[in-house]
């Protein structure tokens, strides 16, 4: 923990009777690319606005580098925001937009001009300084908004779904761009998004938020491989979740009964060790075999019938109906070895227990 960390401690924000942010505690390490991921309406924007000073918490504390900023006026905070709608000043040129913060801080003219030019180059808008925001494309406006915030060299940069309004191709491009810029300037980025892929590709740390609370926080890979709850398992990528009763524990494994199938999950991959639970396996961790005999030893398996096979190029996505009626999704990489299984084929779906996890239902 370095001294410029952003700490949100037990922060609650209510609107009327509605709790938008519920006793939220979060530490965002200095210099990190932090993603706040959650569905629409879960309180992400409200959280950012409290950090920016545009909304005051009902309870709790926000500190930046040990300094309590909970009730500090927004224009006194060393924090800048890239707004969801960009909120560029329509009556000012791109240059004046970007210079706005520096001028308010009383930066001298020459220095302002130099920094603005440098920042416009960084976001590849060097040619567009004299244009009005309305004369730029969505992607260019987005970069002006970024430059306008970043030029002030804040301790923390808040980005509220900055890529939400861009089309898919541009979004991918800007994700890489944003990541490059963050690495280059080393400023803490708090990036709000509802796109799990975006959060995972960009961030060092992802916090999954739901109903005003943090469900899970961690490195993207870590969270993907071992989600803390069924919500995270489904929100971050896709999961097959099979209802199971915990029957016991042996040799470092938790054994469960899933619709009559006895399966084992390594104890270290269990969030719960008793009662009813959900056994989860990612679709790409599942394999298909012709029958029970073809299942490698040590693998867990269930029988099923292929109901659908859709070829997506890099992989084939199968739906397999298990005996208890629900369907399992299986991604088989197109490695060119196996022949595709046709719908109606009886198969065994199998996986390494080390790839499964157990979460509360």
């Amino acid at each position: 923990m370095t001294d410029q960390d952003l700490c949100i401690e037990n922060v609650t924000k209510t609107f009327g009777g509605f709790t938008a942010v519920d006793d939220l505690t979060l530490t965002i390490p200095d210099g990190s690319f932090f993603a706040l991921l959650g569905a629409s309406g879960c309180g992400k924007t409200t959280t950012l606005r409290m950090v920016a000073g545009l909304e005051e918490p009902n309870a709790g504390r926000i500190t930046l580098g040990g300094l309590d900023i909970t009730r500090m006026r927004p224009y006194k905070r060393p924090v800048n925001t890239v707004f969801q709608s960009y909120a560029l000043f329509p009556h000012m040129s791109v240059e004046d937009n970007v210079a706005f913060g520096l001028r308010r801080k009383g930066e001298n003219r020459a220095e302002t001009r130099r920094k603005v030019a440098e920042m416009l180059d960084l976001v590849q808008l060097g040619q567009y300084g004299s244009r009005r925001p309305a004369q730029l494309s969505g992607g260019q406006q987005q970069r002006v908004a970024l430059a306008r915030a970043l030029v002030n060299n804040p301790e923390v940069l808040l980005l509220d779904e900055p890529l939400g309004a861009l089309d898919l191709k541009l979004r991918r491009q800007m994700q890489i761009e944003l990541k490059r810029i963050q690495t280059e300037v080393g400023i803490t980025f708090v990036h709000v998004t509802h796109d799990q892929e975006e959060a995972m590709t960009m961030a060092d740390t992802v916090a999954v938020m739901q109903a005003g609370r943090i469900e899970q926080l961690g490195a993207p890979a870590e969270m993907y491989e071992f989600p803390a709850s069924a919500f995270v398992a489904n929100f971050l990528g896709q999961s097959n979740l099979i209802k199971a009763e915990v029957t016991g524990q042996a040799d470092g494994h938790v054994t469960v009964d899933a619709h009559g199938n006895r399966l084992a999950v390594p104890a270290g991959r269990c969030r719960v060790t008793s009662g009813t639970a959900l056994l989860g396996v990612r679709p790409e961790k599942l394999h298909l075999a012709d029958g029970p005999d073809a299942v490698p030893s040590g693998h867990a398996a269930v029988q099923g019938v292929v109901t659908d096979a859709s070829f997506t190029g890099v992989s084939t996505q199968y739906l397999v109906r298990a005996p208890w009626g629900s369907e399992l999704t299986v991604f088989v990489p197109n490695s060119g070895i196996a022949n595709p299984a046709l719908p109606g084929t009886e198969v065994a779906v199998h996986w390494s227990p080390a790839h499964s996890f157990l979460v509360g239902s």
């Binding site: 920016a52 000073g53 006026r73 000043f89 913060g101 801080k105 244009r131």
Partner: protein, 277 residues
């Protein structure tokens, strides 16, 4: 024949537009023409008869020739400017309050502010007169000003509110996020964006005040504070001096110049925009 009907089907909107424009401008054209006419007597100031039309520059060179005409014009301009300044400032403040803040009575204020626009002038005039008499305020400039400010405010509020409502509230937040104090955010971001609306409101207020007759007629009482519309009405009884046509034409040309200037400004701005993109 076939071609004609098709032509008509394609152009009828345009034709209708021309007819409408003519309908709107013919009366003005008549006044313009008459401003160059030397009527035989004051009772024929408004008679446009090409047989008796006698060209003259007199109405223009001797605008203040008729007794009291220019005094009344100056009074109207003075009342108009004063009412405009006061109504624009108050109305703008009211609009900000209505759009930006939630407070008890906001809804009813929103409705009440429309009332002066909806009330027949004759009703407003009589009630103001009753009020001023009741309060024993002497009739004259002050009562006229109060009345004009009152009915102008509604129009200012409606105009400025429309502009403000279209303004993204995030802009102010963005300014404050970029180290602008609330006052700086207002001066550098909000005001420049709302200014066109405020200017439009001010022009509207001035023209409303300048040509108001009914309400002014009530609240002038017996005082000799005769505004321009009151002067015309008064002289109507004795015969209208022909200078009125010249002044009317001049007023029209001045307003027209304002509109053209505004149009040119927007056009030049969009041309510049197009040139840079």
């Amino acid at each position: 024949m076939h071609g004609f009907w098709r032509w008509l089907a394609e152009k009828w909107v345009l034709l209708l537009g021309f007819v409408l424009l003519a309908y709107l401008f013919v009366p003005i054209a008549v006044v313009m023409l008459l401003s160059f006419n030397q009527p035989a007597s004051r009772n024929t100031t408004y008679v446009l008869d090409l047989e008796t039309f006698q060209f003259t520059w007199n109405n223009w060179t001797d605008m203040c020739g008729a007794a009291g005409i220019c005094d009344s014009l100056l009074r109207s301009i003075y009342v108009g400017l004063s009412a405009t300044v006061i109504a624009t400032i108050l109305g703008t403040l009211i609009s900000f309050a209505l759009v930006r803040y939630r407070f008890i009575g906001r809804g009813s204020t929103n409705t009440l502010i429309f009332l002066p626009m909806a009330t027949p002038e004759i009703v407003m005039g009589t009630s103001l007169l009753t009020l001023f008499i009741g309060l024993q305020i002497p009739m004259g400039f002050l009562t006229i000003l109060i009345a004009h400010v009152m009915f102008c405010i509604s129009f200012v509020v409606v105009t400025v509110k429309a502009r403000l409502a279209g303004l993204d509230p995030r802009l102010q937040e963005a300014a404050m996020d970029l180290y602008a104090t609330p006052w700086q955010a207002f001066r550098l971001v909000i005001l420049p964006l709302v200014l066109p609306g405020i200017m439009a409101a001010a022009l509207l207020a001035f023209s409303l005040s300048f040509d108001d007759f009914i309400i002014t007629n009530f609240v002038t009482g017996t005082s000799d504070y005769t505004t321009f519309p009151m002067f015309i009405w008064g002289s109507n009884l004795r015969g209208i001096p022909p200078q009125v046509n010249a002044i009317a034409t001049a007023m029209f040309l001045i307003s027209f110049a304002f509109v053209i200037a505004g149009q040119l400004r927007t056009r030049r701005r969009s041309a510049r925009r197009a040139a840079t993109s």
